[in-house]
Amino acid sequence: MADMLTAKRGHHRWDWTDWAAHLYLLLGVLVMFGPVAWLGLSSLKSETGLNAFPPTLLPYEAATAPVEGRGNLRLYTIDSGDFAGQQLAEIRRVGIQAQMVDPKRPEVIIRLPVEGRTPVMRMRLATENYTALFSRFDFFRYFWNSSFITIVATVLTLLVNSMSAFVLSKYRFTGRESVFLVMLATLMIPPTIVLVPNYLIAAQLGLTNSLWGVIWPGVATPTGVFLLRQYMLTLPDELLEAARMDNASEWRIYWRIVLPLSAPALAVLAIFSVMWRWNDFLWPMVVLARSEVFTLPLALNSFQGELTTQWNFLLAMTVVTLLPVTIIFAFLQKYITQGIASAGVK
């Protein structure tokens, strides 16, 4: 880590290019990671903390102190007058006057002008944003819906795409190239154009308001077929011939030889598929109308009401939504780069 942070171009002195490179990289970190960090920190702010102006980076909150017989009261530091420097609790505010009390001597009520005092701020992590997600909303249902769609769709995508890629890369038949080209050409049709026809088909098949309605239409992807085919082309034909001589059926060749050897490309496609499915918004929104089948992005969307937005919950849920993909990325990033490099696509 230290080596990476002090890496230089040469091995001797800090050149100006080193400074420039590090500065540029630092800027990159700020631009890329800054919003995420702010999201993370903000998700721990209370609703008042979020609305405070000027905004703070860390989750601060007005401090309170328990006062005997009066419950928790907000604390203020007095700037001037007899009590300058002391922290007093506010009982109530009347016009421009405030009734204050010293938490240590709760029997004496002090009247002071509203100006000339500053609220005491204390750092506090509003973890209730997260706990409320689980108690007040049906978070687990959304999480389960999203996970079910992501996992099942990814498994199906890998299966269907790899079978198609196997045929397109290893079997010689007339029209193979044209089939492949037609498949690739569908990449040029924007998904918004087929949204309505897709919906009509899904409706005909009775797939609306069902998780399968989200899963099936996206299972076969030209990107996935292309990625896997390019990888499978690099598998030597002799291996398949050896398996054929070994009495292996075509299915066994696919299942026992081709699939295990395509693992790097499959890993890449799996990661892509997980990302696509987890973050997918438009198609689920079209197919799913009832809230019990909502996925996480749809649930997130429902937090944003027409009149009010519960930002604290929205942010917390955003963090929870981001976490799984981030974890997958962190663990599989080696495969991603390797696989992308070897599959020759991005």
Binding site: P236, E241, A242, M245, D246, A248, R252, I257, L261
Partner: protein, 363 residues
Amino acid sequence: MGALSLRNVRKSFGPTTVIHDVSFDIKDGGFTVFVGPSGCGKSTLLRMICGLESVSAGDVVIDGAVVNDIPAARRGLAMVFQSYALYPHMTVYENMAFGLENIATPQAEIERRVGEAARMLKLDTYLQRKPTALSGGQRQRVAIGRAIVREPKIFLFDEPLSNLDAELRVGMRAELTALHRRLATTMIYVTHDQVEAMTMADTIVVLRAGRVEQVGAPLDLYNNPANVFVAGFIGSPRMNLLPATISGVADGMALIEIPGFAPFATNACASASRVGENVTIGIRPEHVLIEHGEAAWTLGGAVCGIEQLGGLSYVRLESPDMTVQIAGQTGLHLSDTVRLTLPPRAIHLFDHDGAAMPRSAAP
């Protein structure tokens, strides 16, 4: 049983024909080598026999049954590929067991056969390794083991030793020959290396450009090549081949003249009508007699290269372009002039089409 016959077998890829009407028989239990230069169709022929390539015309017959339409797996053959084609994600044991698992062999039987093959090939201690953790020779043995466990009628080898270094290759050659003796199964072996062909085969099939040039025992091919191609291909260093003309016929034998030198006798049969015909004369380097001395008019010339191997020596002449093998070491030096004598019974004569002319049995 593992007898194989090819009957007028042909293979075309679109308009190009790569195998032309190939016919020959391989008897059960023999070790047959297909040899020929790169691109002669020997691998294609092997793949047609095992069923990985279809046959465009003609019949492939195994044990009396035409197998043209029988898929590779059910022909009862096993192939060892040039690249070994081991499954990289499986252990040595799994590699060897895969073929047996596919035909639902009982687990105990698989273990017995794999164990037996592994012992025979000295692989017992490597069974749980992946192929990438093995040396070239070991991988080669795994590939052979995978073929053995299936107990095939015929083993097919596609240039199996070409990825090994020279020393290992000699060792594996001996092992394969020993394996053949032990299993007594028909083996067909493809190589472009005529030394491998000579040392391992009972029968050699020489191929060129999709045609069979000659079929025979190694020494038959060496002693009586059917044409210029076989003569030049079999034997190392290769046979000396020189253009010549028939200058006369004496007692039914052709007299030969190499331009610039006096005519000399051969024991190739020729009729008087062939006088003046352009032919090719061939003689093996070890049959040429060489002596130090002036070469005026008699066959000879200046030495342009000498290779002393200790046990034997090669002397090269530029004009005529010849290589002479001398037993033991030689006292000749570069640019020495030498006289050559070609013993008539060692001379091969090929007509203008390259076919060997018949030779008289008498000395």
